[in-house]
Amino acid sequence: MHKEAAIREPLILGDDVTYSKITEDVLHAIEHEPTKLWKVLMTIATIVALWGVCSILYLLGTGIGTWGLNNTMGWAWDITNFVWWVGIGHAGTLISAVLLLFRQKWRMAINRPAEAMTIFAVFMAGLFPMIHMGRIWMAYWVLPLPNQFGSLWVNFNSPLLWDVFAISTYLSVSLVFWYIGLIPDFATIRDRAKKPVPKLMYSLLSFGWTGNAKAWQRFEEVSLVLAGLATPLVFSVHSIVSMDFATSIVPGWHSTIFPPYFVAGAVFSGFAMVQTLMLIARKAMRLEYIITVKHIEYMNIVIIVTGGIVGVAYATEFFIGWYTGVQYESYVYMSAGAATGPYAWAFWSLIFCNFIAPATLWIKKLRINLTWTFVLSIIINIGMWFERFDIIVTCLSRDYLPSTWRMFFPTWVDIGVYIGTIGLFSVFYLLFLKFFPVLAFNEVKTILKSSGERYKNMSDEEFKKLHPVFKKDIK
């Protein structure tokens, strides 16, 4: 039996935890009627999502002119939202892939819900470039398909095309990674289901999984290799997203620090979103003994680290803005640009939300305070939205020619589409919480003996007494 150092805090709390208790508790939501809270949240989310769908349909029917864009501001909320959603997605892959490579056992309680968040967030992200095309039915033009214009191919030197490949690879590989992990858990639901419809549904979803030794061996190999593939993938995706900006010549965008800065920011915002979702889900589903305060603290530590990287990146940008001596660069950062210009409110919200507020997590008391963590996670989500808004709108609004300086004002369609994607995301997430195994509970079972509170404090003798191997040993 593999034992952990005693100094490590247990990851599964309670003296009565058994394998079947974990199954029972995680599957409770699936096997019972939905609660009132779920129904209320679902209703609100559906209404908001419908508003979003109507806004999108209106936009597609009328045109991009319904957004508040103008000649100077060719990009605004749409790309802000796109980068925001992709960034949120990064936490899921980081938890399930990077932490798997590092063999962090605490990942097991949160990898499934975080990956679900990734997939839904990337769905939402993908929506924005597509509707920004205006004629969404031409979206397939981004693919290198033979056509009647020559064939005129897409430009593989363009970061926007790299984005197409990066986002679609990221979405589909994450989906595969997530689903391969789900198959054994669906099999458990299938074998427990009593009513015919759920039985049939989960039989189809579980692909006839049997859980024999060879299948598990392959499962572990696939998980490891996919984690190895997903790790560079997750770093590449946001690097490529940042190159949409960094390879252009807009002052404030043209910056070599962007790829690492964007990746750190993405993980930062993603973990904040995981906190928001998990703090509600663990309470509502009574899974506090699997997603413990220790898990919350670990995630807060990741937030401190990535938030710190983002803070250093801000400082570097300002330093380089001054150090290059390029007047356009230093204008963006120093004078009427960010901190004192017309968008100063956005800039200072960003500094407060991403730099000052997360610094409170250095205090252990606040790091393990769930209410503060929840409030802070919302603050960071807002702050990271402002970061993208700042980069995109502030830099574009004050470009080379003062005669082209413009402000950006969102229209109701801008707001509707953005709020609508939050609603749509919530609908997907609530459906996931109801119909999918919310935790990778079969994986959690593998750490019960090494990291569960019940086993952790047990001596070898006590363990052998509890689980005797030979009948002759039982007295």
Binding site: W153, L205, R218
Partner: protein, 174 residues
């Protein structure tokens, strides 16, 4: 003797693993084990070889990389070289830096999906397939060994006696 299938049902992964070691030492061949989660250390005991899926993934990845490079060479250099911003596309070699992202992404795409499809086919798990685990609780909290009497030189009775020495919950025969 006819081929009897013996199922030894355990309620703990540790007990099953130790029992498997005991049985194998006595010359019993364990055909398969069904469990709700992977039991670490079991594969060498029951004589499973390491899977070659990782090698397959590498090959798929390399196929993806070569396809991406060939494709981009054809689109950008051979078929219609574009002159974008005074920077024409002359040869694959000079253009390669800006081809790196798509090459990488496409390589990962092929490796990930190729491996996943191979995995599903090798496990013979696809939508609509029937599950063949002998007891439904093996996906919850039961651990079952499948032993075929014909696989080893011992008789079914001897095997059952050996299993009975361990803390087995139930022995079933089919």
């Amino acid at each position: 003797m006819s081929d009897k299938t013996i199922y030894a049902i355990y309620d703990d992964d540790y007990v099953l693993l130790e029992s498997a070691k005991h049985l194998v030492a006595k010359g019993v061949h364990i055909r398969d084990v069904f469990s709700p989660f992977p039991i670490h250390g079991l594969d060498p005991v029951i004589g499973l070889k390491r899977t070659r899926l990782a090698i397959a993934a590498f090959i798929y990845g390399m196929i993806g990389v070569s396809l991406a490079l060939t494709g981009m060479w054809f689109f950008m250099i051979q078929d219609w070289p574009l002159n974008i911003g005074g920077k024409p596309n002359f040869s694959l070699f000079t253009n390669i830096p800006s081809f790196v992202p798509v090459t990488f992404e496409f390589g990962v795409l092929c490796a990930g999906h190729g491996m996943a499809i191979t995995y599903l086919l090798r496990n013979w798990t696809l939508p609509g397939f029937k599950a063949k685990n002998p007891y439904p609780r093996t996906t919850d909290d039961q651990f079952v060994m499948e032993i075929h009497a014909s696989d080893s030189e011992l008789s079914a009775e001897e095997i059952k006696a050996l299993i009975n020495e361990t803390c087995v919950v139930e022995i079933d025969e089919k």
